[in-house]
């Protein structure tokens, strides 16, 4: 059992299946066991006791999209770091220089984001140019 075997994924799949079965049973139980006396007031969305107004799904700050986008970009970087770290002892100085270049280029983008205020949450996502 070295872990080199595709079969070693089988227990993981089995575990996932059992975990899903368990969660499914719990979700079902929670809706079957408890009593139910629904009323219009009870099923209103909670808004601290006030009658809810307007649609719950309102547009929100563009920041969240920006964060998700930047997250994907850095996630790609992190994914590349993994195989690199895995064989780093073979690559030595060559690998080091390679990765310094790679990280360096990405850091340029990172500082651009920082300068533009994309990482600030207490200001508008992007500062307008002073001239305009």
């Amino acid at each position: 059992m070295t872990g080199n075997d595709l079969q070693s994924y089988a227990p993981l799949l089995l575990h996932l299946t059992l975990a899903m079965a368990l969660s499914g049973v719990l979700v079902l139980l929670s809706s079957l066991v408890g009593w139910r006396r629904p009323s219009t007031t009870k099923s209103q969305p909670y808004e601290c006791g006030i009658t809810p107004t307007g649609d719950a799904r309102e547009p929100f700050s563009v920041k969240f999209y920006l964060v998700a986008m930047v997250f994907i970009l850095f996630d790609v970087e992190a994914i590349f770091l993994y195989p690199w770290a895995y064989i780093f002892r073979e690559l030595r100085w060559f690998g080091f220089v390679e990765m310094i270049l790679y990280i360096g280029i990405l850091l340029v983008g990172y500082f651009y984001l920082w300068k533009k205020g994309a990482l600030d949450w207490n200001r508008p996502a992007v500062r307008r140019d002073r001239a305009s």
């Binding site: 059992m1 070295t2 872990g3 080199n4 079969q7 070693s8 994924y9 089988a10 227990p11 993981l12 089995l14 575990h15 059992l18 975990a19 899903m20 368990l22 969660s23 499914g24 979700v27 139980l29 929670s30 066991v33 408890g34 009593w35 139910r36 219009t40 009870k42 099923s43 209103q44 969305p45 909670y46 808004e47 601290c48 809810p52 799904r57 929100f60 969240f64 964060v67 998700a68 997250f71 850095f74 996630d75 992190a78 770091l81 993994y82 770290a85 895995y86 064989i87 780093f88 002892r89 030595r92 100085w93 080091f96 310094i100 990280i103 990172y110 990482l119 600030d120 949450w121 207490n122």
Partner: protein, 408 residues
Amino acid sequence: MNEFASQHPILVVALPKIVVLLLVLLTSLAYLTWFERKVVAHIQSRWGPYRVGPHGLLQPLADGVKFLFKEDVTPAGADKFVYFLAPFLSLSLAITSIAVIPFGPKEFTVFGQPTPLAITNLNIGLLVLFAITSMGVYGVALAGWSSNSKYPLLGGLRSSAQMISYELALTMSVVGVILMAGTFNLSEIVMSQQGFHWGFLPRWNLIGGPMPQLLGFLLFFTAAVAETNRAPFDLAEAESELVAGFHTEYASFKFAMFFMAEYSSMITVSCLATILFFGGWLSPFPQTAAFAWAHYIPAAAFALAGLALIFYGIRYLTMFGRVVLPVLGVVLGALALLFIRPGVTEFVQGPFWFLLKVVFFLFVYVWVRGTLPRLRYDQLMGFGWKLLLPLSILNVVITSLAIVLTQR
């Protein structure tokens, strides 16, 4: 069916292991809530749960039964399918991630099959763990969206943005460990941390290797606390502004499932911190003749705990406690006797040290919650993006430089 079983022995062995692990995990989840309430209570000079059973020991059970029999309210206008899917997703992913964690070095036999002390020992165990964690964000985001209510939507958005931000720092902070170990296999990462500095200081990744990963560990643990949405990063559940965040509209056991998922992730993260930085199941004492007594530490610890429970228990306030606590003490004492038997002593070493370290990290989790005030949202995001991320990149660069320089 028999033929199938003989062709795929790994599944036959895995099934009892998985069932046992899930049962143990669910029990520890329940008692982790008790542990947290007790510790936080004592930090705040309170007693915490005390009424249900001696020292509130039956409180988790009572909570579970209560959650189950509560009315299951579904808010009007909720998207039923997604509303039911979210807690299901959260819990099943959270309790799956523990499958790749190795608890000890020894292989043992089930039905004549040798098998590791883990559900499975994967070559890329660490990556699989991160893959499962990265899916966890959907439970939160979908719960917030499906409730059709404003607080959950805001809470879900905030939490998921926070989770993806800190996931970056989390995945990058362990690159240092991979650089040093040269593997993604969690057992091999532990084995790479064997040995001692000057004969007594263990060469765990925290303080060993070409580049001690102290910075890496601090980054990892901070990011992990944020990733699991725990205080002081529990912005989504900021009662003062967002009621309860993404699970405001959830009731009954579906509500409890989010908590089970949270506590389960806490346990997984503590296991991971132990494996990556604190030598996993390795004992802090060298395996030399001078330290032979260290083998009896598990037995001694259990015996002491058992004796303390018996002597304290027989003078407890209630009759029930006067029975239950000594019985628990006797059980612990019996375990201690079991642990000094020749074969068993070696076997329990790994799991004992592993679980001790995990419990320590769980305590730190609760300690942090009881001590630190909550951050503001802009501070939180700034902290993740402007401090943790560059520091973890710096850690990668420094560690790789140290390895290149020390390599012959």
